[in-house]
Symmetry: C2
Amino acid sequence: MVDFRVERLDISTGQTLVAVMHKKDADLYDFQHSDRIKLSTKKSSLTVILDITSDITLVKPGTLALFKDVCKILHIRTGTKIQVTFSGKPDSVEFIRDKLNGNSLHYKELLSIVKDITADRLTDIEKTYFVSACYIHGLSSQEIVDLTKAMVATGDKISFRGVTLDKHCIGGVPNNRTSMIVVPILAAAGLTIAKTSSRAITSPAGTADTMECLAKVELPQKKILDIVKQVKGCLVHGGSMNLAPADDKIILVESPMSIDAEGQLVASVMAKKYSVSATHVLIDIPMGPDVKVKSKRDARRLQRLFEDVGQRLGMHVKVIVTDGSQPIGRGVGPLLEAEDVIAVLRNDPLAPQDLRDKSILLTEHLLELAGKPKDLATELLESGAAWQKMKDIIALQGPCRKPKLGQYRYNVRSSSEGKIIAINNKIISKIARTAGAPLDKGAGIFIHRKIGSSVQKQDILYTIYAENETKLNLAKKYVQGAYVVN
Amino acid sequence: MVDFRVERLDISTGQTLVAVMHKKDADLYDFQHSDRIKLSTKKSSLTVILDITSDITLVKPGTLALFKDVCKILHIRTGTKIQVTFSGKPDSVEFIRDKLNGNSLHYKELLSIVKDITADRLTDIEKTYFVSACYIHGLSSQEIVDLTKAMVATGDKISFRGVTLDKHCIGGVPNNRTSMIVVPILAAAGLTIAKTSSRAITSPAGTADTMECLAKVELPQKKILDIVKQVKGCLVHGGSMNLAPADDKIILVESPMSIDAEGQLVASVMAKKYSVSATHVLIDIPMGPDVKVKSKRDARRLQRLFEDVGQRLGMHVKVIVTDGSQPIGRGVGPLLEAEDVIAVLRNDPLAPQDLRDKSILLTEHLLELAGKPKDLATELLESGAAWQKMKDIIALQGPCRKPKLGQYRYNVRSSSEGKIIAINNKIISKIARTAGAPLDKGAGIFIHRKIGSSVQKQDILYTIYAENETKLNLAKKYVQGAYVVN
């Protein structure tokens, strides 16, 4: 046990709680980089991760630099005397090493790892070993089930009574805002569907961003329960609800390498569904050259995995593989996508047929899962019942003033005559994001022509919308390669 | 391209160069956590890794917080306008992903990874993916060769003419200071052996720490070349020489998980040897219950790997497996180990026989490797030629005033009568380190009894030495379990 004088740093550590010691002290007292140390005052104690530096402007020998979040927890400030003792690594590090060595993990061990990830007790290095071990060795169905349960157990839960539907799309396809059509149809059919969605991370819009053009999406749990009780459905942002919070922290470690550990993907999706007590879940796997799932073989493997894990979790899971070769709908970006959704719900003759068809297909599968006649999908959409239900949901969540479409516009025209044979989802997304989506809700792309259309030279392929000129000009730089005309 | 105002932070980033942006700006301009961004002024530019925070005490929207090492490189300060552009990930990240996916890497790809590790262009997360991929998938002999060459190519080299001997011990056994005996014997035999050694990381003393009780060990390269020219041998610290510098950076990522990736271990050792142009190398693998290599099977696999890689590198490599069940010699800690070495070199009748025997054995193997009669080992030691050679080496490296043995002492006595059946190397090391070794050169342990001895109750097993009373008292707490008497 060694005494140190606290030097408070006026910045936060970010995720993990860290203390910084001078190298001389570390050598003297035999502390190593990344050791856990326990900081104790008379009143409280806290275990943090040790960082070692030789930079005396940061910390002098005899003092221990603590970031402000650590000071806050311990109620200490610069000058406070603090006792430092060596604290072993958490047990979870041992379990991560087991997985690295190719052993399977059980629920108790996965729970220990997930608890420590949730509480920011593991370093980036340790979390990365966990993710890469799961990626390389893979996770068995039972491990995925246990990981799912562990992620659910370390977060909040919402419970609805009886049959509760849910859907999830693996993503990668621009627009594709089927949830905003599927939910009101099913709710109109009297079925419960409390849809929590994410905001865009790398895409031009998530369902939460798009719904936010029409209604508030950040709602307290109590209000969500109340809305679903009244109108059977809702469309809210799941991110603010602390459902399976370990998931986001795991994603932070996966994203720098752009790896998609299959087992972790399944656990991530199922944990979110399990947390909102879904009983019947439809998984949509788009397949195409530039989305996550590129081949039938991969799609089928993922399908079997979802179904197997679902069964072990006691959920009814159905998986369908859909066309992911081009955007679904015509708008890309929050407002443009919201307008597509409204056009379909209002049975507008100009509504995008592909978005309408896909939404009906998904709804029919969910109706079947719930034991209802599938014809209800088209009936409730065409009768206007779904649109009325959507208006009810908007009214209860709290209507928003619809944003304006970006006033700076640029038409991208075909440079040759021929047939459109490919549209690159990734380039379309990049253009829409550079134009300002999803934060500029009126920014994005309106698609005039899709795969299979014949075009003349100079025909408009798509229009870029931006809320300011700079972003429009930046977005124009990426148009190369978005369309292939041959 | 976006303009930011610089806010200089008065601290260093440590290894990787980092810039911190407020989350609002990151969202606005579509930057992601861990993205590479290029910072440009009129005069210079630099690519750094992006960190994103919502903490406005650290960075406000519109400003970019830069650590002082980044400011120094770019010659900028608080208030400077700087242009920020997105910069793709280095190619090496793609190669790391290849290895994660089970593909083999070639020299060009490993060189790209090692270059980026050496230049601190990869994040901890990316480096960890590399290490764990190599650990789980393993490295082929050819990959180890290529990794070795890549590590050598990114560091300094020293070249000696003709046959140049070297030795390395995989470690884990306290004392075991054979190099300080092997080197003077071989140099006395007229063979070149420029021994670079490390300081202790987790052990009570490294050869560099021990040699430093007798002579300076931090020498410029020119001086080392000169000494070896004059007396054929030297015993210096390799750490200050920038030999295969990627190695230490890789070890920093391995150590939090205490994993020892076999391929990386072999590449690490061979890169150090290759960097000093060794042509004939002896590898000592101690085997025992509490050292790195625990079974004959593991020892043999490692042996074959070293030999195979050595051959592919054009080096003559011999591997021997030795007894790692207890400390070699009687002292543990820099000065106590140095005294064992001197006793052996001076043919002191009380010199530890096990250290003498092992040193002669290793020397004989190296003599054989170099095509010399092995009887020379005992001859040159017994004649005093080796001791004279050691004195020459000390004189040229620059003699040090010998430190004093710690004046605070504690005898650990046997609590029962019987035979000593085991000594725990790890506990012995922990006691010696807690007593102050390696920084307190006079701290450590003197071992009175070894495995096989019969002891009476109250017989002294070992004595702890410390330079101050507090450390002696701390060290006493760990004595439990160091010896098993039965």
